[in-house]
Amino acid sequence: MAYSEKVIDHYQNPKNVGTLDKASKNVGTGLVGAPECGDVMRLQIQVDDATGVITDAKFKTFGCGSAIASSSLATEWLKGKSVDEALKIDNMDIVEELNLPPVKIHCSVLAEDAIKAAINDYRVKNGLEAIKFDESVVH
């Protein structure tokens, strides 16, 4: 199976690899997946309290090239978006952007899950209720 050029590019030059201070009140951390499944994604967002805009996003991923590319792309898309806008990122947008084949759709689902988990972590830290999401379909 050949990878798309965009996947290869994100794999070779991943954007926003790193770690934000998870103890900070304006950082939300999402850790999804499991080592047994061969994919673990940690995605972090830093939110400007005043504007509600995501000013920074970082990731670290254990997984295949598509998982790495999905999380790299997700961090790119998150930066500059408001938290509410970020919630609208759909895994199928990632599939389309990266040309992921059907067997790799779960990578994009994981990235979407990671975004939601990070947002909920941020919300809970700031006294807001966690949003209940529907169970992801794939997995």
Binding site: M1, Y3, I8, Y11, P14, V17, T19, L31, V32, G33, A34, P35, E36, C37, G38, D39, V40, M41, R42, F59, K60, T61, F62, G63, C64, G65, A67, I68, V103, H106, L110, D113, S136, H139
Partner: protein
């Protein structure tokens, strides 16, 4: 001069040795006869070539040429041995003993036999990949007709104690079938010294062509018979009908001859390269060899690099190096290698494994390139692995409640 890409997936298949190819070529359009045509020179030539190849194949494994049944490959040979014995010895019993680390061609055939009313015991293996002989002996019962244990494993290269297995089988009057696909041509295999009753093997794993293999069927002490699984012209002593693949068989014969003559020299050189590769790769922090290092094929090693995922790792260099991973991220099931799991490896380590299969044609330059590429990629991926970061922070990953998905 280093030529890319480098091929280190020789457990999947090997290139045809140029000497083998040359031997095969005249049998496509010049000596194209049907080996079963008894009444003209075209048939005679083909038959003669097949007879000669049968001798070459038999010699490699210490068998009589009459004991070699040509097939389309190891999968067919596995099917013929298991189903053929199950049918032929139905009046004696219906129980077969095998192991969980066998190739799918054996495991799935056993599953099929279970549906037909057979009973199959799947032995677990020890952490080094070897089966426990006591456990094997304890599993034998009055209805046991066959023990089916591979000679060497295709993922980790572990070599089973075949001689000890056959001693137990003989003691209880049970037949021993072994899938010798990865072992024949690579290490000394002798059906008489090893006490093997049936053995499957294939040309394309030993520098021969694809689409041809053999089943060794013992003719005396004891005389073993299998029920044919394909009906037709009664070729191969009635055990395998179908016009013989003459060019393939000729190539198979030549490949066996070359393996027999070069085995000692090849093994020594390849084992040195493998050991060098392994020593260098084990210098990477948190890397582990899977399976027995002592009882192992000389050209294979399987290594897990903790906290990086195998497929992601392959992507770092798979344009230039052909390797296999124990991670099955591409399959719908997301299940990693069942062989590695049977060793007791956690799924995370199974996902982090690479299998290296060297060949007669592997060079030191290729191994040097591979060592560097893998070391660099492991380091790069660990920099972006959350598991590696947690491990470095001293967090026990088992204490984390992972969201199952």
């Amino acid at each position: 001069m280093l030529k890319l890409p480098i091929y280190l997936d020789n457990n999947a298949t090997t290139p045809v040795d140029p000497v083998v190819l040359e031997t095969m070529l005249p049998y496509f359009s010049q000596h194209f006869g049907n080996a079963a045509s008894r009444n003209h020179p075209f048939g005679w030539e083909a038959e003669e070539a097949v007879d000669y190849a049968r001798e070459q194949v038999a010699k490699l494994i210490g068998a009589d040429p009459k004991e070699v049944i040509f097939t389309s490959g190891a999968t067919e040979s596995d099917n013929l041995a298991l189903k053929g014995v199950f049918e032929m010895y139905a009046s004696k019993g219906n129980h077969i003993i095998t192991a969980v680390t066998e190739h799918k061609a054996v495991l799935d055939t056993c599953k099929h036999i279970e549906k037909l009313g057979g009973e199959v015991t799947y032995l677990q293996v020890q952490p080094d990949g070897l089966i426990d002989l006591k456990e094997l002996e304890a599993a034998i019962k009055p209805t046991t007709i066959l023990i089916a244990i591979m000679y060497a494993n295709n993922e980790i290269g572990t070599v089973m104690p075949i001689k000890e297995l056959s001693t137990i089988a003989r003691k209880h009057g049970v037949l021993l079938f072994t899938d010798g696909t990865q072992a024949v041509g690579k290490i000394p295999v002798d059906v008489n010294k090893d006490g093997i009753d049936l053995m499957a093997f294939s040309a394309h794993k030993m520098y021969g062509p694809k689409g041809v293999g053999a089943l060794y069927v013992r003719r005396k002490n004891p005389r073993v018979k299998v029920t044919a699984q394909m009906d037709g012209g009664g070729h191969e002593r009635g055990m395998r009908s179908g016009t013989l693949n003459v060019p393939g068989i000729v190539g198979f014969g030549k490949a066996c001859e070359v393996c027999r003559l070069q085995m000692e020299e090849d093994t020594k050189r390849i084992a040195e390269l493998r050991n060098y590769l392994e020593t260098e790769l084990l210098k990477i922090e948190e890397s582990y060899v899977n399976g027995s290092r002592e009882h192992r094929l000389p050209h294979v090693c399987n290594i897990s690099f903790k906290h990086v995922e195998g497929e992601g790792l392959l992507m770092g260099f798979n344009k230039n190096i052909a390797l296999s991973s124990g991670s099955a991220c591409t399959s719908a099931s997301l299940e990693p290698s069942y062989v590695l799991k049977a060793l007791g490896l956690g799924d995370d380590l199974a996902h982090s494994s690479l299998r290296f299969g060297l060949s007669r044609f592997t060079t030191k330059e290729e191994i040097d390139y591979t060592i560097k590429a893998i070391t660099d990629t492991v380091n790069k991926l660990r920099e972006m692995s959350p598991l590696w970061e947690m491990y470095k922070e001293g967090i026990d990953l088992n204490t984390i409640e992972w969201a199952a998905h």
